[in-house]
């Protein structure tokens, strides 16, 4: 270890390698960071300040790094726990954009519930076997929220982006070639 290098030992049982990488990322601008050790037991993370970074900030960086590690571990945990709801919301949003009917949405949800769509959760739980994608009540709650958002944004279009072109330019629309489809 270099004289101006300090290290911290991270037990992999407490923090995943993924969290360690993500936490390291935040320090790459001001420090040279290197990893060593056994990824099955404990990983040593070494910090060496770059030129222009004061050496006294090294001790502070170690503390900040450990805080960042907890932050990243929590993010990973939250991400895993709401993965299904995120996928559901994105699927709903894409289906609405594509003009998929509610009957088709139900068919899509059913297919995902049978394992045909979204990836299974990392802890190997068989929750997908007991409920399709999401709890029915939760699904209704999300649809209700989406409807409220759409309703609240109605009329809120000062630049008239959602208005069809023909409504904004009636004279040009009148000169359009016959058979031009109207929206």
């Amino acid at each position: 270890m270099n004289t101006n290098e300090k290290s911290v030992e991270i037990k992999v049982g407490l923090y995943s390698l993924e969290s360690i990488y993500k936490a390291c990322y935040h320090f790459l601008e001001k420090f040279y960071v290197r990893l060593d050790g056994d990824p099955k037991e404990a990983v040593m993370v070494y910090f060496r300040p770059k030129s222009g970074t004061p050496e006294k900030s090294l001790e502070e960086a170690l503390g900040d790094f450990q805080n960042e590690l907890i932050h990243q571990a929590l993010r990973a945990k939250v991400s895993a726990s709401n993965q299904k709801i995120r996928e559901y919301i994105v699927t709903q949003a894409l289906a609405a954009a594509e003009g998929v009917t509610p009957e088709m949405k139900g068919a899509l949800s059913g297919a995902e519930g049978m394992g045909g769509g979204s990836p299974s959760s990392k802890d190997g739980s068989d929750s997908e076997a007991s409920s399709p994608v999401l709890d029915e009540e939760l699904e209704k709650e999300i649809e209700k929220l989406l409807a409220e958002v759409e309703k609240s944004s109605e009329g809120d279009d000062p630049l008239k982006i959602s208005a069809p072109w023909e409504d904004k330019n009636p004279s040009s629309a009148a000169n359009a070639a016959p058979g031009t489809p109207k929206r």
Partner: protein, 69 residues
């Protein structure tokens, strides 16, 4: 210019990340990468105007870590 050899632990760094970083640094040096006995061997031959020193290696290994985050 002389070639230098560096090692990274293949259980902590991925060879793909090293190759990606080498591509990004290709204007500064030529890289030869091999994996053997749990280590990723990185041979670095500098292009003219580049000095392979601790700072260069530090930036390169930081870049590898950034690829993995």
């Amino acid at each position: 210019m002389s070639e230098k050899k560096y090692l990274l632990d293949s259980s902590l760094y991925s060879k793909k990340a090293v190759e990606s970083a080498a591509t990004d640094f290709s204007e500064f040096a030529q890289f030869s990468i091999a994996e053997e006995n749990g280590k990723i061997e990185i041979f670095v031959r500098p292009e003219s105007g580049t000095e392979i020193n601790e700072e260069f290696w530090g930036e390169f290994s930081n870049h590898v870590l950034a690829q993995m985050a």
